[in-house]
Every structure is written in C-alpha cells, then in structure tokens.
Symmetry: C2
Subunit: 150 residues, 2 copies
Amino acid sequence: MKRNSRLSAVLHALLHMAERDRPMTSDELAVCLQTNPVVVRRTMAGLREAALVTSGRGHGGGWTLARPLEDVTMRDIYAALGEPMLFQMGNATESPGCLVEQAVNHALDDAFRDAEAMLIARLGEVTLATLADDFKRRFAEHRAALKQRG
Amino acid sequence: MKRNSRLSAVLHALLHMAERDRPMTSDELAVCLQTNPVVVRRTMAGLREAALVTSGRGHGGGWTLARPLEDVTMRDIYAALGEPMLFQMGNATESPGCLVEQAVNHALDDAFRDAEAMLIARLGEVTLATLADDFKRRFAEHRAALKQRG
DNA sequence: TATTTCGTAACTATTATTATTACATGAAAA
DNA sequence: TTTTCATGTAATAATAATAGTTACGAAATA
C-alpha cells in the first residue's frame, strides 16, 4: 500500500540534497528514491516554480536547494506540490439535489475540513532543519550502536 | 475525482432506509446511490457483521436498520467498513534502512496520526439521528421556499 | 563540437477501485 | 411444491489514477 507518497519522497530527496555541497542530478535522485529520473524532474518542477530549488543543465548541472533549511517547512513543500488531496474519501456527488446527501456531505465536510486544517498547521511547524537535525541524531545513535558492538 | 466515497455512500443509504418503514432492496439502494446492487451488498455486508443492519432474503426481504438512529455514530460506520485508510499519502518505504527516510517518516507519522485521531473523534460525535435531523430541517426549509414562491 | 543534463510530450504499465456476470442459497408467495 | 424474489459470493471485466518509459529537444559546459 504505497499511495501518493510524493510528499515523503520529496522530503527524502531534499534532505539528501542538503547533505551534499554540489547539485544532484535527476539520475542520482532517482536511484536514491528508487524511481525514474523523469518522475524526479516532473516532481521537482513544482518545487522549482515555488523557488524552493533551482535546476541547472549541462555539465555540473542538477538540483540545488535554493533556501536555507530553516526557512522551508513541510507545508511549503505540500503547497509547492499543488496541495494534493490529503484524504482518501471525498463526498458523494451522485445526486447533488438530494437533501439526504446534502446533510451527509455537510457533516463530513465539517469533520474533514477541521482535520485538514490541523494537519496543514502541523506541517507548517516542521522545517527541513528539524528533519535534518533528527537525521543527524539518528546517525549519531547509529554510529554509537556500531561502536558498542565493536 | 471521486475516490473511495463508501462512507458517504453508506450514510446516504442508511438515512434513506431510516425514512422508510420496510426493508429496502439492494436494487432500490443501488438506484438511489447510482451504483450496482452487488456493490451495495458487498458494502452493506460489513455493516451487517457489525450488527448495524440486518438483511433478509426472498419476498419482502432487503436491508433494515438494526439499531436506533441515536445509537449509531459515523465512527461506528467507519469501523464497520473496516477502518479504511483516511489519508491519501503514505510513507515512503523505498529504503527502510535509510536514516533520512526514517526521519521523514517519523515527522509525517506524527502529524498524520494526530489528524487521524481528531477526525475519528469527530466522527464519533455525530449520530445518524443528528444527520436525520439535519435532513428534516433542510426539507422543511425546502418546502417553505417552495410555498413562498407560490 | 561532443557530452551532459534538464524539459517535456506522448505513450505504456501498473494498481486500486468499481462494475458486471453468473450462479448458488434461502425465504415467501402462488 | 413450484415459482418468484432477494441476498451471498466468487470470478471476471472495466475504469481511473498513478507511476514508469521512451524519445527527442534545448541549454550549458568541457
């Protein structure tokens, strides 16, 4: 079950980019994300339009972060991806005139709208720097565990 | 864009059933929901297992609500449908060992889990009676508007 | 100029969901 | 008891959304 995982894939890509001091090519990112370079370009195009990354062609070209990690939240990235639907379930639209359907949709809309607002707010609280720090912490733990094992 | 709209479809069906004093057949519900009777049976099967509805075969058979409207919440129905995934996006699972991926997944899991908990709690606050009342209100308004227009 | 790399359109493949067909089972009516 | 009606369910087909691929053009660098 691996639906629309673009958001996590993009975060994954951006953090890998942050670990390097030169551009990463679409081919490199494709290997890293186990996908196709064309898919990488398509996805990153949205981020470029949002000025979160830049791309360069030819020798030494590839993808580069355009802003400091502290300035970019997961919400920014979600927005740059076109604010894809967060929820699996939509409303019925079989009989738009049906008053029963309207009552149902109204109740569901209320609940889903609130949950969505909360989720988006949460995405806005986490920056790429937060994620990078968490990665570094995990990396340090990993090394410590290796060392202890000898 | 009409993904997995089972929840709203089922609510729609149950409220229509509530408006009647005899069982509704799968064919009737299928017309009402603009789908196929077999799809209706498949979907309602989950509700029957959860004892929210009963089904009867042969003449006079069909689907009947098994509990008072006040006793059934949208959350009960969500549960009866097998608690389908609420979110469109899952986590990346390309490289389970990748520490970058783990950091990303952890942050996303946190946000999604909280939003899901909130949404499910909200579903638990709305009963079928709530929806039926809302329907009746809309119906009264509808009639008043018709009357005023002559 | 040769090579690298992105940009993008067109097409194919995969997957998830929904719809359909077919037939068995059970219940009520004739 | 036979006929009719309705659900139960497996198997299959159709549809739609997403992802992957191919192909080729454009731009930048060596």
